[in-house]
Symmetry: C2
Subunit: 456 residues, 2 copies
Amino acid sequence: MAEPLIPMDEDGLDFRRVTAIINAVDARDAARIATLMEPLHAADIADLLEQISAQDRNALLGLWSEGIDGEVLSEIDEAIREDVIAALPRAVITEAMRELDSDDVVDILEDLDGPQQGLILDALEDADRVAVQQALSYPEGSAGRLMQREVVVAPADWTVGETIDFLRISATLPDQFYHVILIDPLMRPKGYVTLGRLLSSRREVLLRDILEDSFRTIEATEPEADVAYTFNQYHLISTPVVDASGRLVGVITIDDAMNVLDEEHEEDMLRLAGVGDDSSLSDGAFATARQRLPWLVVNLFTASLSALVITAFQGTIATLVALAALMPIVASTGGIAGTQSLAVAVRALATRSLTSANARRVVLRELGAGVLNGLGLAIILGVAGYVVFGDLRLGLVLGMAMIVNQVVAALGGVLVPLTMSRLGLDPALASGTFVTTLTDVMGFFAFLGLATLVLI
Amino acid sequence: MAEPLIPMDEDGLDFRRVTAIINAVDARDAARIATLMEPLHAADIADLLEQISAQDRNALLGLWSEGIDGEVLSEIDEAIREDVIAALPRAVITEAMRELDSDDVVDILEDLDGPQQGLILDALEDADRVAVQQALSYPEGSAGRLMQREVVVAPADWTVGETIDFLRISATLPDQFYHVILIDPLMRPKGYVTLGRLLSSRREVLLRDILEDSFRTIEATEPEADVAYTFNQYHLISTPVVDASGRLVGVITIDDAMNVLDEEHEEDMLRLAGVGDDSSLSDGAFATARQRLPWLVVNLFTASLSALVITAFQGTIATLVALAALMPIVASTGGIAGTQSLAVAVRALATRSLTSANARRVVLRELGAGVLNGLGLAIILGVAGYVVFGDLRLGLVLGMAMIVNQVVAALGGVLVPLTMSRLGLDPALASGTFVTTLTDVMGFFAFLGLATLVLI
């Protein structure tokens, strides 16, 4: 072979393999591409398609599509999924969709536009199509969209032996299942048995005698954030989903819950920074700019509040220009303190550790921490101000403004998200802009106001 | 009963139940406490202990400790675990420790101080103590600390029937297991069979014929962040852990990986905001202030850079004091843009979607978005400056400074974390402070510098 042997990860996606694949695509060497793609897991193939440029991606899919199965389509970022589906032969899509569980098909389908949705629904077998359409009838972001409809159930009066015999002759079991769900004649779940328990019990044991102690069901209309919380809080592996009348309609497994948890984290982190939820690393510069512009414009207006405050003290600044240089120190240190307090509060609200039971104590704690750090920073800054400018009163003003702004920052950082949460809003949404506006305005006001009183 | 009936969540931890429990503790009514605690899941008991004050917690544990089992101790926040253990009778601790799998004992043990560690080790049976001590010999934060040593294995030449018969007579199976791991005579794992597959296959089928396609092992010394990534990326449920010679030493299950993922997220979010990792909502004001002070002091110094820049332009400000009021607008909008770009980059690095393969494209995209938003904001601010101050040149200076700072923000937001990551540092650590210092300094410099050139 002409190409030198490249030492790369045996089956992982490292930079060497990506480079080798792009080179093979440039050379239109389909055999080499197939060799390089073959060891990759579906999740790594999806990552590869996300990381290379749109041009390389289309060229790659034109030369090689046999490895694109349902799992790859299900793993791939929704920002490029439409492009990938558009680039694939119809037979590949049909084959890919038929091997997926209903929850994964729903997950792919809900982000596509009309014509592509039709294409995918057509690819499904009749029973699957009905299952998918029923799932789509639940609201977006609900447990009903997350669940798979393939369930493994048994009547409560069966024995272990009967259950195993039944599983052995079942033609269509889900890809992954972790429990046998016991149901009553009206299809209402009554408990479940873990597969480990089933395997280690004697054939004549009754299922009802080896039920798990803790058993929870989830309503199909419940928001997916609550589902993720329930899985994480109670260490669930899979949970039955019921409709309003308590009948079993599906099962949610932990991998889907882990996925939601991961997305919720991403949302919190990006919202806190003022970035739209639907941003993706595959977006171009225009889409990225459009997503970020709204909060920048909002900040333009809130920052004008600071400008108004400073304008009110123009006379003071004209008398002592050094104040203009010092005022950002008070404002910016307040911004950092507010951000610290805010991040802790948003995280605590997301994990539901900040509740009505301890809100008052946490607010008081933040207040205390704000006073303490305000004092500490006031001493450092006050002494520095005195040493540099030789003016004791300037040092005093710096220190006092710092204390005021640290307290405002600490309180604002926890009260803003708490208030948003009480109002039923996402505490992460825009809190960052509110809190830094607050600390900027208060920082300038306290510093220039005190300076006017004491120095001028 | 004298107390009025309180409508509360049947088995959840709502505010009503917390209040009722605190009232019962105040009244020292042990029977009422027991009734109120009885329906709670271990995770909810742990949350309750975290949310009430230290005083109430100690009083509660004095009146009621029979419900504190191993699961509660394992769920509880490490910040208050020592206090809880100190408040419990020795018999309760012994009983609690004996029911836990080895990974949970290790998790509890590693955060305790010496004497309490000894207490817990003494409580264990000999075999468990050896298992725990072996786990503790792996580095902190490694897969070896995360794994449970209880494993379910079978030789590759066994049939389904032989395996089921073996499981039925096994006295000590782990609480939860999802696979039977096939091993060779040297205890090296060769693949695994899911329990679902085992249950649905005929007795005479050989295990080696129903192995899962994809099979991964994890080295005991691997960092837990990599373990969490592997579980999330490849949708694993449980994975064998091997030592350096490839021998099976334990198993990691998805609930532990989900836990690590959750902690990694928390770490990213808090570090990005300049808060120490070991902060807890149960910390008091002093501990909280101490954790947050370091980055505040760092910011005091970095903010002084801004002050130096402004000082250099004192002459300009003295000539046109309005500049002092306008300069924070340019700086703060740059701060927001830098934070946006930074949050996206840190998240992408954490999920490993930002790699050598696409770093150049992402940086160029950020640059493009920075130029576009800089232009958009420049037009708004420039026009507003012209309208308010009636000075076309002031509008021009505002607009131009905005473009410069938006570009610096966009580039800084992605280049700072990328550089930290290349240097092997956590990209979330202190990036926020670096980036906002950059945008502050550049914002003041560009605005005042251009103003000096154009206006003065």
